[in-house]
Each structure stands twice: as C-alpha cells, then as structure tokens.
Homo-oligomer: 359 residues x 2
C-alpha cells in the first residue's frame, strides 16, 4: 500500500484516534470582509474594528481572518447596512444612528439625544434588555449585532461665538446630523450636512457657524480652535454613543459554535478597549487644545433644558408613528430613569469630590 492510499484510508480514523473532534478542526480557513463606516484617521473608532479582527485571528490561530476596510473602500460609508443585509460583505462596524432615516430604531443601538451614558448603555446591552431588543430589530435586516465600542460623552462642538441663551442658536448654521440636527432645527438652528474635509474652511469663512465632531482626541487633529474657538460641553446628543458590529445572519449561522463565541468575546474586548483608549487619550488632547486657544464653555441650563424638551417631543412623536421605536425606546427610557436615580449617589458623589481636588 503506497503512502497516498494509506492516508486516504486512515485519515479520518487517525484524527479520531488522537481525540481531535473533527467538527471545528476540519473547518476550512474562513475569510470575512468587514466594512467600517469610518476613515482610518478616526483611529480610536476605526481601530476598534482592527482590534476585533486581530483578536479573532489570534484566538483561531489565523484560521478565521477578517479584513477591515475603511468607509467607502468596499461600499459607501452609509451603505454598510444594505451591504450586510445583502451579504455583499459578511460584517460591518458602524454607528447605528447613521441609519435613523431608514428606521429610527437603529439609533437606539448607538445613542439618542439625552440618552444613556457609556456605562449605562453597556449595562442596558449586556444586563438589561438592550441586546435582545436590538437583535430582534436588526433581524429584519438579516443582521446579528453586538456592541463594538463607545467614545464616552462627546463634546458639544466648536462655535465661532458664545452660546449663552437659546436665542444664540437662532439661525446658527451648524454641521450636525441625524437626530441632533432635528432637535437643533426646533431650537431655531440650521443643521448643515457638508463633507468633513470642508468644515475648516467653511468655519474660517463664516459660511458655517459651528460644527460638532467627537471629543478632544479626535478634534485635536483638526485645528478647529483656530477658526471657531468656543469648545462647548457636553454633547447632549451623544452622552454615550455606542458602535456596533453588524454581521450577516447567514454568515454568522454558518460559523462553528466555537467561532460564534470567539466573535462575541472579541467584540466584548473591542468594546472595552475602545472606551479605554478614548478615556486614556482625551486628557492630553484637551490640554493641547486649550494651549492652542480653545475656550472651554459649558452649555447653560437653559440651552440644555430647551434641547431636552424638544428631544422628548420628538421621542414621543416617534412612539406614535413607529411601533418598533415605541417598544424599544420605552424599555430604554425606563432603564435610563433607574440608572440616573442610582448613579447620583455613590458614583456622582465620588466623582465630584475627586474632580474638585487640585492634587
């Protein structure tokens, strides 16, 4: 019997005799493509998808590789839901609120104005009903979803002049999108949608009065403080925006059970490390911004309260027109109420005391 036929006959038995379960291990190499909605310059956000892919690769000894593609490389940045739904790519990494126009429910998996903060959002997803409700919703789009990072509370953007009252927002041309844009509109502002690369010049010329971006770490690279020096906080429309991994349901179902679990744990790892990255890097960036001329300003209670009122109105209107929204948002809003009841005691009093120190 020559060597080849010997192997042919004995191959499978040989594997079994060594106690190796064939189910996973005979699995051919798996190659997926991940479409990010973000440019590589948004290092923390884009990077969370890279962290995820590297973890999956390392946990499978290179047998399950996922190539990460920046926004527009394979499909348009805002076309990733369609691409995952149709199976053009196996998965995406994105911010659900980009798909607010398709169905407002997408936004709840990311954030809504005056929503949950980062820790509260994570709690809603993993230990509240969040993941269950969002997965039920996403299933309509052939999507299985998992949390994929958070930036923490963002800043409220860059302004050419100070915003002291609601009147100061009247006619304000601001680069701001989606849900937040609708709220700004009801306050008299004029939301603008212009490409990121044109914002600096528009602010400099005064064809734009304000623009929101992310927070110190990402904003510091753009130099907006030179043309719109008032840097407001908080970004009330992004108190804890969460990114998500969207996976085509058939692609996910085709994975061996072990690999499904590996995908979930890699997502958890990317989730925790992205928030850590922003938290670790924002302080130095903030110092650089202030040294470079940024003027830190807090939104007044009047402005916040008015924005909250309009946000509540919009949320209530959506509950009348979108039954899916009503179902998910009610659970989210109840959770938020409970969270803010509890967080005001131990967490808030500890943080306030620590922040009041000069060290």
């Amino acid at each position: 019997m020559d060597r080849r036929s010997l192997i042919k006959t004995a191959g499978m038995a040989g594997i079994l005799s060594l106690g190796v379960a064939p189910a996973v291990h005979a699995q051919p190499a798996i190659r997926w493509r991940l479409a990010s909605s973000f440019p590589q310059t948004l290092e923390g956000i884009y990077g969370a998808a890279e962290v995820f892919a590297q973890k999956v690769n390392a946990m499978t000894g290179g047998k399950f590789t996922i190539s990460v593609h920046s926004g527009g490389q394979l499909v348009p940045a805002f076309g990733v839901v369609d691409a995952v739904e149709q199976g053009t790519v196996e998965m995406a990494h994105t911010a659900g609120y980009y798909f607010f126009g398709k169905d407002e429910c997408f936004a709840i998996g990311c954030t809504v104005p005056f929503g949950l903060n980062s820790r509260q959002m994570t709690a809603w997803m993993y230990e509240g009903n969040g993941l269950k409700l969002m997965q039920e919703f996403h299933a309509q789009y052939n999507i299985v979803s998992f949390p994929g990072g958070n930036t923490g509370a963002q800043m409220g953007g860059w302004y050419r002049k100070e915003i002291n009252t609601v009147d100061d927002l009247k006619g304000l041309k601001m680069r701001i999108g989606g849900f937040a844009g609708r709220v700004l509109e009801r306050m008299g502002g004029v939301p603008q949608n212009i490409p990121g690369g044109e914002v600096y010049l528009a602010l400099d010329k005064g064809t734009l009065d304000a623009a929101e971006w992310v927070g110190p770490y990402d904003d510091e690279k753009l130099g907006f403080q030179k043309v719109a020096p008032y840097y407001y906080y908080p970004g009330w429309w992004e108190g804890g925006p969460q990114l998500e991994f969207y996976i085509n349901d058939k692609a996910f179902a085709s994975l061996p059970a072990e690999y499904q679990e590996i995908v979930k744990a890699a997502a958890s790892h990317a989730h925790v490390t992205m928030q850590a990255l922003y938290d670790a890097r924002n302080p130095l960036a903030l110092r650089k911004l202030v040294a470079g001329g940024a003027q830190l300003r807090g939104f007044s209670g009047e402005v916040l309260q008015e924005a909250l009122k309009h946000s509540h109105d919009i949320h209530a209107e959506l509950s009348d027109t979108n039954p899916g929204w009503k179902k998910i948002y009610e659970d989210y809003a109840n959770f938020r109420k409970d969270q803010n009841l509890w967080f005001r005691f131990a967490e808030m009093s500890f943080d306030r005391f620590m922040q009041s120190q000069t060290w």
Copy 2:
C-alpha cells in the same frame, strides 16, 4: 496491515493531509481549577469567574474547562495568591487589596482610597501603563494577571448613628479592612475584623457601630438597614475596585497561543459584564433598601477631606518604604490627575444634567 497499525503509521500524516494544523488540535483536553476568594452569595463578583470559565469552555468547544471553586473550598479565601504562586491551583479570581499585608502593591491592581473610578481604572489597565506595571509586579509571585470585573463606586457602609463631622468617627467601631481601616484609624475610628456572618448581630447589639459591604445589590440581601439604618455614600476607599484573574505563569505559558488569547478575551468579557450586572441591578436594590428603612446620607466634605489627607499621608509613607509602590503608584496617581481633569467636562456635565431630571 491491521487497522490499528495502519492508524499508528498514518495518523499524523492523515491530519496534515486534511489541512489541520496540529499545534492546537492535537492538544489534549485541558482542565484547570480556579479558586475564587468569594462566596457564591456574592453573585455578581463570584459570578464573574463563572462567566469567564463558561466563555473559555464555549470558545474551545469544551476542550478547555475551568472549574470554579468558592472561597475556602480548595484553599482559604485569602490563600489564593500562595496557591497560584505554588501551582496548587492554576488560577484565582480575587481582589488584590486583600494582599495589602503581603505587599501594598497588590492593592493598586484593585483600588486604593480615593483611587480611580471604574472607567478610569479600566483605561489605566488597558490603555495606560496599568496592566504592564501590575503584571511586572505579579511576576514576582509567578502570576500572570488580567482585569476581572469591577463593582463601580461602592457605598460607604451602614451606621447606627449619623456621621456629620470627623468627631463622629472618634471611637467608632467599624467593620472595615486593609487600607481603608488604616485611614479610619488615623481619623480616630477603630477598625474591626469580624466574620461576615456575625456582622448583623454585632450591629444589633451595638458591639459594632458600623460596617461596610459592597453596594445596594449585595447589601440588600443582608438587612443591615434594620439595625444600622444610615447608609452613607460614597465608599471613598472603593471608588472603582477591580477584581483580577491571577494565573500561574507556568500554566499560562503551557497553553497554546490560541488558548492564551481566548483566556484574555474571556477575561475582558467577564470584566465588562460584571460592571454591567452591578449597574443594571443596583437601582432596584436601592429602591428596596429605602422602602425597607435605609436612610441615605452623603459623607460631608469635612469627612471626605480629612480622609483624603490621611490617605495621601499613607500613600506618601509607602513611597518611602516600598520602591515597588513608589513606581506603580506614581504612574497611577498621574493618570488619576489627568482623568479627573478631563472627566469634569463632558462626562460630569452630562451626568449632572441627566441626574437632575425628574423624568
């Protein structure tokens, strides 16, 4: 050639012919034991080790199983460092500050009085120098360590009488351990070390004036509000206590690279879900406690400031006597300073506004 000798000859070649890399897959089943320092009744804390073990199991298709044992079952609750060091068990799940008496540096991997909050601690570990410094320190004990959950800011315990001034702490017999006990002592209090099961009776009899535990979710099960109704916040000695997985270094090194990565990702998953569990469950527990007679009280600025002063003194004294402490604590303290500079803007202003609403 009979079937047995055919397999013997062809087994390995057969595996290779199917494209299965032998390194991991020929790995015999791995069974580890994990010694927790906690009782099963501390469901969130003990449970994080269960979550970890289940994830490892699921990601390896049951080929790497870790049995979880509660405090005292295999080794004493506070004997887990010795047990991991000597290889009696492969790993442990514990709170580093229990080993403050062995070397004060252990505490920094958990928390110190007026330390980092939960998110900040995670940022220091994953994106600052925390994990690197703690792993360097733990290596002396043959330990490889990873973050393993956080409770968030704890409550400041149960008191039979109100604590308004530092004078009210004089002679106060309080069940409180380690570092916090040393600080209380300098403020005139008398730290007590009595078994958990005897606390209720001691508070009822008045042989104990106060006791600290965790936070609403765990405290609610104990009924302390009936005998010591004043429930203070924040637990300034536990602003963001982190648990850790301690793994025997030889056991860790013996794992295939894929399994090492699986262990790390499972730890990240347990880390994020434990905090989520506490955040999700504390609100309802707090409501129950208040309905059951708990009186919520915030520590006064005077009390907190005095506790901070003594904590600073102790930290500085340790820097003189323990070079390891000096090295790790300096990095930790610088990180804390930066974190509290940044967190006061977007995060704090968002949280304060949200918490001020009645919804």
